[in-house]
């Protein structure tokens, strides 16, 4: 019976209802409702202090919430098995302490650890997952290099590879685009897109970079205390509409409509 219903009704990966969260007495999230299905690539955008990171940390169970309900794979208090399906890539790979000597492979290996296998040596199965993750991230050549000798983009991919080496199906990324150059950014976004389409991972990604998110994700959510927009990336409002959604009034008035375009440069022209 139970199996049947699971097959017919697809349980959303993440189901959040009327979630309110306070941090240091200030309300950061207010009545956030959100549902994410399997295989979606969702971009979570919004201003600083808009509650993006708070939202992720609450979903992961690291912050307490005041009101509301969070369900991960249909469970309100996720079992260890369910938690194993969730991967977290924390804000900028720069979070790794700089006084550590760690190779890419050693970092990725850490992703395979769980509470039950951490006391034992790495098994062949774990090593295989590590190799596969390194291959997916395209880091074979630098796998024995110290992570601090990598470029920003490579290091970010290494941190993501760490999550891939776990059995995570739902990957949450906090600002993976910070501190990496344009080309790495494009290849990182392609990499994430491939993960979503070829490996059937569900991705929820935080970013400041609205343009990049719009190109990569299927669906975008604009979060500023409440959800201001949630829909297809292609329909994401333009700047003027976004301002009115956020309740920002026009401060600076212009009276003339002459050509005010001072500079514009296309990246393709330079090449």
């Amino acid at each position: 019976m139970k199996l049947e219903s699971a097959q017919t009704v697809k349980v959303p990966v993440l189901d959040v209802e009327k979630l309110s969260v306070n941090r240091s007495g200030k309300q950061v999230l207010e009545e956030v409702c959100l549902k994410i299905d399997e295989g979606e690539f969702v971009g979570l955008v919004g201003p600083n202090g808009g509650g993006k990171t708070t939202f992720l940390l609450t979903v992961l169970g690291l912050l307490k919430y005041k009101k509301g309900r969070i369900e991960l794979y249909g469970e309100t208090s996720p079992s260890r098995n369910t938690l194993g399906k969730i991967g977290w890539v924390s804000q900028a790979a720069a979070n790794i302490p700089s006084n550590i000597r760690l190779t890419v492979k050693e970092l990725v290996q850490l992703g395979t650890l769980t509470a039950s296998n951490m006391f034992w040596r790495f098994t062949a199965e774990q090593n295989e997952r590590v190799n596969r993750a390194i291959e997916m991230a395209g880091l074979e050549e630098v796998q024995d290099t110290n992570i601090f000798h990598l470029s920003g983009g490579q290091r970010q991919r290494a941190v993501i590879a760490r999550v891939l080496a776990s059995k995570a199906e739902f990957i949450l990324l906090d600002e993976p685009l910070v501190g990496i150059d344009r080309e790495s950014r494009n290849s990182l976004l392609q990499f994430l897109d491939k993960l979503c389409h070829e490996s059937q991972k569900t991705i929820l990604m935080i970013s400041h970079d609205i343009t990049a998110m719009q190109q990569a994700s299927h669906r975008m959510i604009f979060l500023e205390e409440r959800i201001r927009y949630d829909g297809e990336s292609s329909c994401f409002p333009d700047l003027a509409d976004l301002a009115s959604l956020r309740g920002i009034q026009s401060v600076h008035q212009t009276n003339y409509d002459e050509d005010k375009l001072y500079q514009i440069s296309n990246i393709e022209d330079k090449k």
Binding site: G84, W88, N95, N99, I100, R101, G111, T114, M118, F119
Partner: protein, 305 residues
């Protein structure tokens, strides 16, 4: 038969076997006389464990916790002596473990950062020890000197046994907890998401560190624990590229420091602890300077950072 005597009986023939090869006038006694054999084995054992712990302390920005806990254990020893205990080391152990747990808690709850909480315990417990000794202590100044600066001759059979037990248990625990410790040190939040018991690991690590520090106090003394705990690991950081190689380098520098330190202290008749610390620091300086000087010669266009 105690753990200490098993270890001593196992290593004594080996030490006696290589004794004729050892240079120096007094240093060979470390390989032939039981009192000195105990000292040598204890120092090497403590160095082995300290190497495993030291590299995690560096990652966790707790380089000074060894120093802090060593002072706490001085307070514990003072209290133990005044209370008339025959094994003041047990008091040191108790005081250090409690302090280590409190320091860990203060840090994870973000009440205070690492340095500040260590500083409070360091000064507070050192002061307690001094005050207690001044009021109730009598003529036990000589012992205290030994505890502060390390005196290998203080290692009698009972202390040797305790040091061996602590080191073996600590070594076993650290080795099986290695991966867990690494994953929680690199990124505690990600580790927690993975289901790793971050808190339990942090607490056990604090307890292990405290116990090892107490066992080290006798070898290098309160003031110089950091020399064995942090200096070899810091030297290894300069040349290691992977986590594994850093460990091997740490052990290498640790053992070299101890053996050279004991050799010079025996031949020049200085305190063992201060000599080991001096040798460890000199090795660090040598490696650091040669890194700065040699690297630009090999790779002139490379930027250091």
């Amino acid at each position: 038969m105690s753990v200490g005597s098993i270890i001593l009986n196992f290593f004594a023939p080996i030490l006696e076997f290589i004794a004729p090869l050892i240079p120096g006038e007094i240093f060979p006694y470390f390989f032939t006389m039981e009192l000195f054999q105990r000292a040598l084995i204890a120092s090497l054992l403590v160095t082995l464990v300290a190497g495993f712990i030291g590299r995690f302390l560096l990652i966790r920005n707790l380089a000074l916790i060894g120093d802090g806990l060593a002072h706490v254990s001085f307070g514990g020893i003072a209290v133990g002596i005044v209370l008339g205990s025959t094994g003041p080391l047990w008091y040191a152990l108790l005081f250090s473990i409690i302090s280590a747990i409190l320091i860990h808690e203060m840090q994870t709850r973000e009440l205070l950062t690492g340095d500040a909480s260590i500083a409070i315990f360091l000064t507070g417990m050192l002061a307690l020890g001094l005050v207690v000794l001044r009021i109730w202590g009598g003529g036990i100044q000589t012992d205290i000197e030994g505890y502060l600066f390390g005196n290998l001759l203080l290692i009698d059979e009972a202390s040797f046994d305790l040091i061996c037990k602590i080191c073996i248990i600590a070594l076993f625990l650290i080795i099986i907890m290695q991966s867990g410790l690494l994953v929680t040190s690199v990124d505690p939040i990600a580790a927690q998401v993975q289901g790793i018991p971050v808190r339990a690991i942090g607490l056990s690590f604090s307890i292990i560190t405290a116990s090892v520090v107490v066992s080290m106090v006798q070898v290098v003394g309160t003031l110089l624990v950091t020399a064995l705990l942090v200096t070899p690991a810091a030297t290894a950081q300069l040349i290691g590229t992977s986590f594994r190689s850093t460990l091997l380098w740490t052990q290498f520098f640790g053992f070299i420091s101890v053996i050279l330190g004991l050799y010079f202290s025996a031949e020049l008749e200085t305190g063992s602890g201060s000599m080991i610390a001096l040798v460890a620091a000199s090795i660090f300086a040598f490696v650091a300077i040669s890194q700065v000087l040699v690297k630009p010669l090999l790779q002139p266009t490379d930027n250091v950072n």
